[in-house]
């Protein structure tokens, strides 16, 4: 039996976080424990991914907490989709934790930095693995509590103000999610996700309430993902948070929101027939209601993020807006998948979203960590006070260049495939819309805005590059010291970005299996087997 695999990543994060708390009087040991713990987390996640996706006798695994059978007990489920998200989280986490040791002040590291980091990781892991709707809420809270402290971490006027706004917003979001979860329980009589899918696809099931109630939960998910119009917390929170943690925020916790949307709408509600039609959207499931909303939000994010990034004057705000725009690309791909009834295009849409998510996690992680190097060296990230860094350290310049080019989508970097498949999905939607003038107009608009978004990405990436690395050296750049250790860590991450693009074949298989799992409601139900033979 390999059912323990589904709980192993959670356990590793809990144990590491707890041990880090216990040894906090010995900073060096604490740091070593954290690096070792995060590496073993990555190893466990890697083994899980191999068992679930690549092994010949592989398949999803399920763990019943306390031995209580689904649908009554809480369960953790690891299928290909969860495994994909976990791998993405693990890559970012390993780099962030190693980099933290070299970037965060010794004093600050001792202020519960590492335990909090592990609990942030724990929350994201639990949210990705859980098979129970209320438990998802609890994991979100675990993740949020750690992130609250990180936003307030430096504790000055700007940081506490950002933290208060972030906390208020997310508590309201959590209350909304609670309303949605309670309503879904009342409507379906269960909290177990697989059981909910069974109940909703049963003939004669009342599915109408699901549309409205899931919209409440959707608001919370898009708040976490930072989709417009819920993007406004992102820049101030990212500016306040320690930069290695921002890499985790942008790379991993935002993706948990996207994951939750995919899991809930596609895997759980995908089979529920709703007897109502939405104009210009094919299909009569809850997905038909998701599609137009998510499309508008995604396109708005692409524009808001793109134009915002072009107009910001500091590197981290530029990247914060950029990550709003990039999440928009993922949302558009998922919306294309939701809008269609053709199995092939739906699969492609999810696939494109997942590949883009992986690319964004590593590329944006690399860029945020590079910003940390610059902050450490020059004491500022304002573009007007930077310049000429390329001469100071050609290695660091090439690392940043890899991240920037990947963001733009230059082959053979990770970002190329992300953009390629998103545009592929949008083009196919256009091709499939022949004869229907509304659908054609929507598809053309989608393609147009995606194109504008891509051009804006080139603009702000170029702007960041020229402002930081070209031109004459400012005084801060001349006197600053570049930490070789930090650059060395980032160089390996740049190689990862390159490797994902060059060796895309296994990534393709993995994302393919993950999107297969996202759409395979019956497969998910089979893994969980709610009620066993009694049903």
């Amino acid at each position: 039996m390999t059912s323990w695999l589904a709980i192993a990543p959670v356990l590793v994060a809990v144990v590491t976080g707890t041990v880090a708390l216990l040894v906090r009087s010995r900073p060096r040991l604490q740091r070593a424990v954290n690096v070792a713990g995060t590496l073993s987390y990555a190893a466990v996640v890697g083994y899980l991914a191999w068992r679930v996706v690549f092994a010949a006798d592989g398949g999803g695994v399920m763990y019943q907490l306390g031995g209580w059978e689904a649908p009554f007990g809480i369960i953790l489920v690891a299928d290909a989709l969860s495994a994909f998200m976990l791998v993405l989280t693990a890559i970012v986490a390993v780099y962030a934790v190693v980099f933290s040791g070299q970037f965060i002040d010794e004093q600050n590291q001792r202020v519960y930095y590492y335990p909090l980091f592990q609990f942030l990781l724990l929350g994201a892991t639990g949210a990705i693995l859980t098979g129970d709707l209320f438990n998802l809420f609890v994991w979100f809270e675990v993740m949020l509590m750690a992130s609250y402290v990180f936003v307030a971490f430096y504790g000055n006027a700007q940081h506490t103000a950002a933290a208060v706004r972030y906390v208020v917003l997310n508590i309201v979001g959590s209350a909304l999610m609670l309303l949605g979860v309670g309503g879904l329980y009342a409507a379906t009589g269960t909290l177990n996700m697989a059981d909910m899918a069974v109940q909703l696809s049963a003939p004669g099931a009342v599915t109408e309430p699901v549309v409205g109630l899931s919209a409440l939960i959707f608001v919370t998910f898009s708040l976490k993902a930072g989709l417009a119009p819920f993007q406004f917390w992102v820049p101030s929170a990212y500016r306040a948070t320690p930069l290695p943690v921002v890499a985790v925020f942008a790379g991993a916790t935002k993706k948990v929101g996207i994951y939750a949307i995919i899991r809930l709408y596609f895997t759980i509600f995908g089979n529920a027939d709703v007897s109502a039609t939405v104009p210009a959207v094919a299909g009569d499931t809850a997905l038909a209601f998701l599609a137009p909303v998510l499309l508008v939000m995604g396109l708005a994010s692409v524009l808001v993020g793109g134009f915002g990034a072009v107009s910001r004057d500091s590197l981290e705000e530029l990247l914060a807006y950029s990550s709003i725009g990039q999440i928009g690309f993922i949302a558009v791909a998922v919306a294309v998948a939701a809008a269609t009834t053709a199995a092939e295009l739906r699969h492609l849409g999810i696939f494109a979203g997942l590949v883009f998510a992986l690319h964004h996690a590593v590329s944006k992680g690399l860029l945020f960590l590079s910003t940390a190097v610059i902050r450490d060296m020059a004491g500022t990230t304002k573009l007007s006070e930077l310049g000429g860094l390329g001469d100071r350290s050609p290695l660091f310049a090439s690392v940043f260049l890899v991240g920037g080019l990947s963001l733009v989508g230059i082959p053979p970097l990770a970002g190329f495939f992300g953009k390629l498949f998103v545009f592929d999905a949008a083009t196919r939607q256009f091709a499939a819309a022949t004869g229907d003038s509304t659908a054609t107009a929507v598809a053309v608009l989608t393609l147009g805005i995606l194109f504008v978004g891509a051009v804006l990405t080139i603009l702000y990436a170029t702007r960041a590059w020229i402002g930081t690395f070209w031109g004459s050296q400012t005084e801060r750049i001349q006197t600053g010291v570049i930490h070789d250790g930090q650059v060395a860590v980032l160089a390996t991450l740049a190689i990862v970005v390159l490797a994902i693009g060059v060796g895309f074949e296994p990534v393709y298989q993995f994302a393919d299996a993950a999107s297969e799992a996202a759409l395979d409601t019956d497969g998910y139900i089979e893994i969980v087997g709610p009620g066993g033979e009694s049903r």
Binding site: V138, A157, A161, V167, A175, Y185
Partner: protein
């Protein structure tokens, strides 16, 4: 009973939203606490408040009718969890408010820097 619960939920959400939009940070935190509690009362309402039977409430097997009205035990468990979370959140929000007040030298959130 359901009507009472529904009216309470509505009133609590209205009050919470009103407080949330104040300029005084302490009132905002009050608003958060009230909205969290409103969600809890709503959960109780969604579980359905019906006359208990010995099947749903085992202890009633040894007593006689009329049975009291009870709430679905699952939502009770959910509310218990949610209460603990919102308790922790409120404590954190208050602590953070105090620090933010010290740093920004004002309890009025509109006077803070962006």
């Amino acid at each position: 009973m359901t009507l009472t619960v529904a009216a309470t939920v509505g009133a609590l959400f209205a009050l919470g939203t009103f407080l949330l939009l104040r300029e005084d940070l302490v009132k905002v935190v009050w608003g958060l606490a009230i909205i969290s509690q409103a969600a809890n009362v709503y959960l109780i309402g969604m579980g359905g408040i019906v006359e208990g039977t010995a099947e749903t409430v085992p202890v009633l097997a040894t007593t006689h009718e009329p049975f009291p009205e009870t709430v679905d035990p699952v939502v009770q468990a959910l509310v218990l969890t949610a209460i603990v979370i919102s308790f922790g959140m409120t404590a954190f929000a208050l602590t953070l408010s105090y620090r933010a007040y010290q740093e920004n030298e004002s309890i009025n959130v509109t006077e803070w820097e962006q």
